[in-house]
Amino acid sequence: MNRNTIVTLNTLGLLGITSVLFMGVVLQFALGELPCPLCLLQRVGFAAVMFGFMLNVIYGPQQRHYGVILMAALFGAAVSLRQISLHVIPGTPGYGSPILGYHYYTWAFIIFAMTISGVAVLLAMWNRAWERDALHTESPPARLAGIGKLACLLAVAVVLLNVVLTFVECGPFQCPDNPVDYWMFN
């Protein structure tokens, strides 16, 4: 597998996680359910994973970028596992509506686990020649065009949308454990 194919796979990864984060926003309004603090921390995990994929798209694949993705995915997986553990006891209601049989946090854990597995496969395909290429792409971003640029712009837009929505929901304060209305409109 050559370097361009790996960059394409990273672009698809970036688009995939961007769509997951965007779907969270869509369902927030469609179902009228506000994200809880742990849900928002999972969104932070997704955004951080997107940052790692974006580095690979802009600067080319590098082991350090995969490290960023793994750190972010492990963070997100830990947060989602914590939330699963809160609702794992029989009789304890879940938070939010289930989507295709699973709650958001369960889906989040599955996606973070898939991300970690995907990065493991991509790292297994690592080619030593790319380390030399990495030295040349450390400073200014490689020429970014087409779907790569579109994916990066979409990713930034969706994360900024989440920044605004989170501020509208919680303001500069700690988010309530069980939010029922937006701080800004209250």
Partner: protein, 51 residues
């Protein structure tokens, strides 16, 4: 607070896009540290469940 963490990740992404990669790493590291602090805060919350 939570919007600040997301904003830091957004700034990291923007930094990467404009060629300020090290700045991006800095914002990413800061967001992870704050995220872990906030996660620890929520993970040690009192649980209102009956066993």
């Amino acid at each position: 607070m939570m919007s600040l963490i997301l904003l830091l990740v957004a700034l990291a992404m923007i930094g990467a896009m404009i060629g300020k990669k090290k700045l991006g790493y800095g914002f990413f590291a800061l967001s992870m540290i704050l995220g872990l602090f906030w996660f620890h805060h929520h993970a040690t919350d009192h649980l209102d469940i009956l066993l």
